[in-house]
Assembly symmetry: D4
Homo-oligomer: 164 residues x 8
């Protein structure tokens, strides 16, 4: 995968405060040595920049976009509507409704424009990273090996603690 630094995954988020959540996606990508870029791209405050990001990502070599947002979370869906890349959505936990609004805003897309949605919050961000790895691994046997090893180690760690 990794002879260059050309980012393969674009991790974007609606606001700087989403970083605490979205770093979980980035940490996974780093641990798998998948080159990525991370940006704040706000659907509502920087629509032109979002449109530009969405329409140019593929041309720059990005293979997968991970987009996190909270509340009326439009970023993942709007990006998905302007690219042919697979877009993963991470519902960031919101203040009043704990991310239920974020989840529904991201997952309930109309037929025609898919967003692969992960869980609310940290677990969802981590899993967005892993989903990206799963996609990339299908054409990168080296990465696939690391993924298989990751899952084995994850299993091993639970087994070790299994006796409580």
């Amino acid at each position: 995968m990794s002879q260059t630094n050309q980012p393969l995954v674009g991790v974007i988020m609606g606001s700087k405060s989403d970083w605490e959540t979205m770093r979980n996606a980035c940490e996974i990508l780093e641990s798998f040595e998948v080159p990525y870029e991370k940006r704040v791209v706000s659907a509502h405050r920087t629509p032109a920049w979002m449109n530009e990001y969405a329409t140019t990502a593929q041309g720059r070599g990005i293979k997968i976009i991970i987009a996190g947002a909270g509340g009326a979370a439009h970023l993942p869906g709007m990006v998905a509507s302007q690219t042919t890349l697979p877009v993963l959505g991470v519902p960031v936990k919101s203040r009043a409704l704990s991310g239920l609004d974020s989840l529904l805003s991201i997952v309930q897309m109309p037929g025609g424009v898919p967003v692969g949605t992960l869980a609310i919050g940290d677990a969802g961000a981590k899993n967005a990273g892993l989903f990206a790895v799963r996609i990339l691994a299908s054409t990168d046997s080296d990465l696939h090996q690391r993924l298989a090893k990751f899952q084995e180690e994850q299993t091993q760690k639970v087994l070790e603690d299994s006796q409580l």
Copy 2:
């Protein structure tokens, strides 16, 4: 108001199937003789057209945008993010979640980009029309008179039926 046909209100909706709901907004505007235009503008299937609509509406003389959508309803918020016009959002009743997803996707906008949200479904569409009339009436004394008369008649109709 009405010496020309220049539309003052833009009524847009995410899909043709939303028309059954959104016609309630248009019927109100017609009954008040407020010139309006109506368009299908899909945030997800026609993002470029949505961006164009949002950024040019004011220049064409539109004063208020009414946007209806269902499910992960991004249209009102995305339009609001690309104009300085007041944008009213109508959550269209969705199949699985009865419009709760539409409502949260429209109303839970982040600070900075307001959408004035009305009720789910027909009542909300009708009220979006009336809210537009209320805004326009504040600088159109003729319209204001008609609005006051509308509210009186509405009151009268309830009073007449009051004895059941």
Copy 3:
């Protein structure tokens, strides 16, 4: 806009404790130099005062009413029913149900009496202020310019932080 202090926006709230939320609306109005008044007006504890407020606001030159309340939040709807002014509703976050009750009590108005509803809590209050500015800006080119500048700066701020 501003050669006099005649308030153009009435910011009301159901209880003193709502001020922490509603100050976000007032700060926006101040930053745009829109004259406003702020009052505690309780639908349930001061119904006569609410009726008076609602029926006299327009006569005193108020153009828009922003009403915030929590729980079984009746203030925005009851004020809207007694004026022809546009009324914006802010659902204040409630103790047990985090503002879901406030939101539904405000937004689910029957056809005939519109309340333009914003998000739960601080973001909603801020956006109520901005929605009022959008309305006023349509007949005040000076204000419109400031609004356009505000949105540009908001965009700029995100762009500056975009690289994380």
Copy 4:
């Protein structure tokens, strides 16, 4: 109780369409021979008439008010705020949200203004009638006897069917 026709219970509802639900309250009152009046009183479309109803009911000899409404259901709470009579609220099933909005709008009243809330829909309307009977029965031994008999018969009916 019943030498005169002076109504003791006021059954009011926000719209004529609520009658299908609220008739369940009236049928109970009739079966107990409790004199009552029924009116359409809309918080939002006839606020002045609502205020008049609420403030004069007690003077006219009404002892209990039963108020049914749907959606952003403000009638019970607004009436309760303008009388010292006990007010019972019936959440009418709403179109989109099945009465969850009605329920929260009625029951979540702030401290100071109580509304005794019953179940959503027909069962709630019937029980509002029965709750009124329970209140009146505490100072009317004849009515109390009929209430005790009603409960026995209700029990008996279940017991008879108990074997399926």
Copy 5:
């Protein structure tokens, strides 16, 4: 009302930990000098004692029962099923679901057995006390006067703070 100490209101709650909520009901009753008794009566842990309480309350001169409980809150409904007294239910805020479970368990009673339900938590408990006062005031002109005064003072207090 008060030449004797014979309790008129029975305030019961499902567990000792509900006291923090239910004390709000008792404080109201005390401030109105309404004699009351308070007891822990658990539907689930002391069903026989609950049955005894419910069936004997009226005989002991109790006029109204206020019952608070959380979670699968069966106390109010089960007491209502075994008395002809009016029973008021207070949904205590629960740990996981913030009292939504308590509310639905109390309010959604089947036709035939009414529970007049108040808001979740402290406000609901306070209002249960006030609802009891409203019932008792209808046959106690002295109490009625105090209730009217209470509502006036409540209004006055808001008006004084109205200017923020």
Copy 6:
């Protein structure tokens, strides 16, 4: 198991209308030749009969109670509080809230009084029957064999249709 007709499972339900749901439990018990009895036992309309049922079931040889109810569903919890038998609760789908109220009223029992709760509606009733069979099978090898066969056949049926 079956040389006598002594019922081992008591299937009770809050109202005759619950039979359409609860028959699914009985059909399972019949197909496993587990003797059972079925009764309408209403927590709210026949509390004394419910208490009697709950306290005498074990003495009559009942091993497991299956209780179905809808809305504010108190039957399973109240029976569980008056017996040491395992009690299974089936939330019957309710009219307004589709059984969410039934589910929370049954499952959210306080520590000390367990109700083993199954799914809302038909599937839950069927599974209550199967859960009873699982319990009984642990001390009845004949029944255990039939249960194992049932699960195999269930598996087989899916496998046969697996190709669509």
Copy 7:
């Protein structure tokens, strides 16, 4: 019951962090001297180990399985699908949705594979322990006596505090 240490109840949980909740089940089992084993068994991270656990438990003498998990909680249902033992499910309180996701993931099983579900969190875990005791007590008169005593003491404790 207890001449050997052969565990009769298997208490399993999806992750080590569920122990804080699930210890409540174990404490009950200990207080009743019911031999049990406890294990971390993750449906998602150790599927093979889960399958092994589920398919071998009965052979090792386990009579009842208690399974706790949070979020998309698949452990109880997946274990139930691979055994004929009764399986009790404990929804662990989740971060974003407070265990509502856990509850629905556990309780809404399809017809054919039952999971007896308890309340969200600590109360549910405690009750899972008690439900297991209720099952075991039906064939262990010594245990049954201790259970009856437990319920009496539980009653007694409430009665002692009843006067507040």
Copy 8:
């Protein structure tokens, strides 16, 4: 892509009745000429077959698994836990809770095992198909072209109807 019939996508569903929903995924795959297989694979009724399917899919050349299920929907998560392939989850609309249970059971996966979740019902199934196409298109320029054309046509269709 298509010189052979070797399936690249595995479309599985928890029960035959899910086919009405899941056919929407298959129709998309067919229209893009992506070879796929479809199977009923029940997590709860055929766990061994599910495990076999999950662990062997990759070896047989499957690149992406689409799994649909309703209620306590464990299929997508359990398959994801036993493969390194990307797994897409489709929440099938359920009877009582309209698919909210299905959605939460699928999307709220713990960190470590990702399921890319789509909308409830038909739209979600269609989008699962499209998401699979997006993944495959990134290494198949022919498919990518067809995808781009599909999105253009989709846009075109809305634009043609845009005038209503």
